[in-house]
């Protein structure tokens, strides 16, 4: 087990290193092809003093000659960047000269909150629907559940969001405020945009919307694994002992169906990240997804590299945890 964990950690480090290098290379290529982002510092098209431009370039590590040769991987700046990262210096943004580490401290908690609500929604809804469908296998309920979840998956997240923000949110908020008042929980929860004064309440609805990503996949996984367990010997034994159906479902069927659920959550995590980009953009949540999108648009190389590396780290970490949970949940699985 210990050796397995060490091997996986080393692999993860290698993966992250390659990701970092590829991102660095992409940004360098972009600078070489599209032109110097240090001009951003001076606000667009104005022609700055060459000495000042050179100073800004030096400040952000863009003064290396390799940024003028197309296709040069810029190894020296890459090593510098890695050294800075190891020392805990994540650099500053071109636009506004803010500290990237401070920005992350604001953005990461927001995205985490979004993911908490999204994961809860995904797991709870798909558990209920999947269990329900499995118990009524082949009947109308089974087909309805399957059709509904596929339909929910077919409607793109950003369309659900746009529909909610532009059509549903405002009347719903007005109605709720009329009954419970503006400052109450109900008065805030349906807001069409994020409000930093209510960091938990106003993130519930976007979280639920992100949670609908992959609902069909998850429900199908749960249904299939429960069908396998329902037909198993230990469930027949439990029935023969005269246990109540609810107890059989919870203790014997659901508990043994946890493995595919964990696989599914680990697998869907990356997809939720994509959902977060759109959700945070539309609802105005200052989170990682919105930060990465804006950074890419503004050619903020450093911010893009840091943001995507953080998300890559999280994905690698989640998949490691998933693999270790397998062994914890099912004693038949062993890692050598």
């Amino acid at each position: 087990m210990g050796r397995y964990v060490i091997r996986r950690l080393l692999q993860a480090l290698l993966t992250l290193g390659i990701v970092l290098f590829l991102l660095h290379y992409l940004m360098a290529l972009s600078v070489q092809i599209r032109g110097n982002p240090a001009m951003l510092f001076f606000g667009g098209d104005r022609a700055p003093d060459p000495a000042m431009l050179a100073q800004v370039e030096r400040l952000y590590g863009l003064d290396n000659k390799c940024y003028e040769r197309v296709g040069d991987p810029c190894l020296l700046p890459f090593v510098d960047r890695l050294q800075a990262f190891v020392q805990g210096d994540l650099g500053t943004t071109l636009n506004g000269n803010r500290d990237v580490a401070q920005l992350l401290a604001i953005y990461i908690p927001n995205t985490l909150r979004l993911f908490i609500f999204a994961t809860i929604t995904l797991v709870v809804v798909s558990m209920v629907l999947g269990t329900w469908a499995a118990r009524h296998r082949g009947k109308l309920i089974d087909h309805t559940v399957r059709g509904t979840t596929i339909l929910a998956d077919s409607v793109p997240v950003f369309l659900i969001l746009l529909t909610y923000v532009y059509i549903v949110a405002v009347p719903l908020t007005r109605w709720a405020r009329g009954i419970w008042g503006t400052e109450s929980f109900m008065g805030q929860v349906f807001r069409p945009n994020y409000n930093p004064d209510y960091p938990w309440t106003t993130i519930i609805i976007p979280g639920i919307i992100v949670g609908t990503v992959g609902l069909a996949t998850m429900t199908r996984l749960i249904r299939a694994s429960q069908l396998e367990n329902i037909g198993s010997d230990f469930v027949r034994t439990a029935k023969a002992k005269g246990l109540k159906p609810l107890r059989i479902t919870i203790v014997h069927v659901i508990r043994n169906s946890m493995i595919p659920i964990i696989t599914g959550v680990g697998f869907l995590f990356a997809f939720m990240l994509s959902g977060a980009v759109l959700t945070e953009g539309v609802m105005g949540i200052p989170g990682m997804g919105r930060m990465i999108f804006q950074a890419v648009q503004r050619q903020e190389g450093n911010l893009v590299i840091v943001g995507l590396s953080v998300s890559a780290m999280v994905v690698v970490f989640v998949s490691l945890v998933v693999d270790l949970l397998y062994a914890a949940l099912d004693p038949r699985i062993r890692y050598e």
């Binding site: 793109p156 369309l159 532009y166 890419v296």
Partner: protein, 306 residues
């Protein structure tokens, strides 16, 4: 001269996985409906002239924003958009870029994934570790995120007249981040198959590696891949729309469903809901049809779930 003929065995239909799957699928009403929808969409992409006789680029300013009050009859069956172009024609002609993009991305991703997956699974060793590391690297960056990165960093002007130029950039970006799933499935299936008796037998008979890989292993490896293809096509259509709404996918004045949707959102709030609702309906219907078809295909190809 007596004729000697070997006794011909009664023509017994050999039950293969594919024909079984086809027979199961044929009996399900949802599959039939999904197939009809998909055929209709493909026909729209291939022969737009069948559905509309208008030219989507011929627009009259004084006919702008006519609501479709006449319901499928009259000069503009679905009304006109903000610039006076016939909306039905725009919608029908926007189908071709969308479908071509989705199909080209899926073909490239599947081919890429299959070949890499088979090589990784069959040879093992350093080939496998190289391909597996590449897989790890690409898998930690989600498809939409990667596409945003590539498309924003290397944005350039393209002409709207040629279909290839219109879809090339998003197609390349999406293919680059779309092959991993197929590669993983193929690799797993190859690892499973390569030690089976018939493959070992083929090796003993002196078949070369390429023959074993593509003649004996591929037919097995392709089953799990096929089962996810329709659902993935639906996913690509959705991602294209998301990219267009973000403003970095297919670029206007070229049209695709995504471009129509992103334009439609601007007008939907102002009372011209049909400009948003029609592309939305068409997109959801198509993706739903792909997903239903894929769901049924997966069930039909996986005997354990029956």
């Amino acid at each position: 001269m007596s004729e000697l003929t070997a006794p011909v065995a009664p023509a017994e239909r050999q039950a293969s996985l594919w024909s079984d799957a086809f027979r199961t699928m044929r009996r399900r009403p949802d599959v039939i409906i999904a197939t009809v929808v998909l055929l209709l969409v493909f026909a729209m992409a291939a022969f737009p002239g069948l559905f509309t006789d208008k030219d989507p680029t011929k627009c009259l300013g004084r006919e702008a924003k006519l609501r479709p009050d006449t319901w499928f009859t009259g000069n503009h069956p679905l009304g006109t958009d903000a610039f006076g172009c016939d909306f039905a024609a725009t919608l029908v002609h926007g189908t071709r870029p969308t479908i071509t993009l989705a199909l080209s991305v899926i073909v490239v991703s599947v081919l890429f994934g299959l070949i890499l997956g088979i090589y990784a699974g069959y040879y093992g060793g350093w080939v496998d570790s190289l391909i597996s590391r590449a897989l790890d690297v690409f898998i930690v960056i989600p498809m939409l995120m990667g596409a945003i990165l590539i498309l924003s960093l290397f944005r350039g002007r393209v002409s709207a007249d040629s279909l290839v130029e219109t879809i090339a950039a998003p197609a390349i970006a999406l293919s680059l981040f779309g092959w991993m799933e197929f590669c993983r499935y193929t690799r797993a299936a190859t690892l499973e198959t390569k030690n089976l008796d018939y493959v070992v037998a083929a090796k003993c008979l002196g078949a070369n590696d390429r023959r074993i890989m593509f003649k004996h292993i591929l037919p097995n490896a392709i089953v799990p891949v096929t089962a996810v293809v329709p659902t993935t096509i639906g996913g690509i259509i959705v991602t294209e729309a998301a990219l267009a709404v973000l403003g970095i996918g297919v670029q206007p004045p070229a049209t695709s469903w995504g471009v129509l949707l992103s334009k439609g959102t601007e007008w939907a709030g102002g009372g011209y809901v049909y400009l948003f609702a029609w592309p939305l309906g068409l997109l959801v219907l198509t993706v739903f049809a792909f997903a239903t078809f894929g769901d049924a295909l997966r069930d039909a190809l996986d005997p354990k779930l029956r």
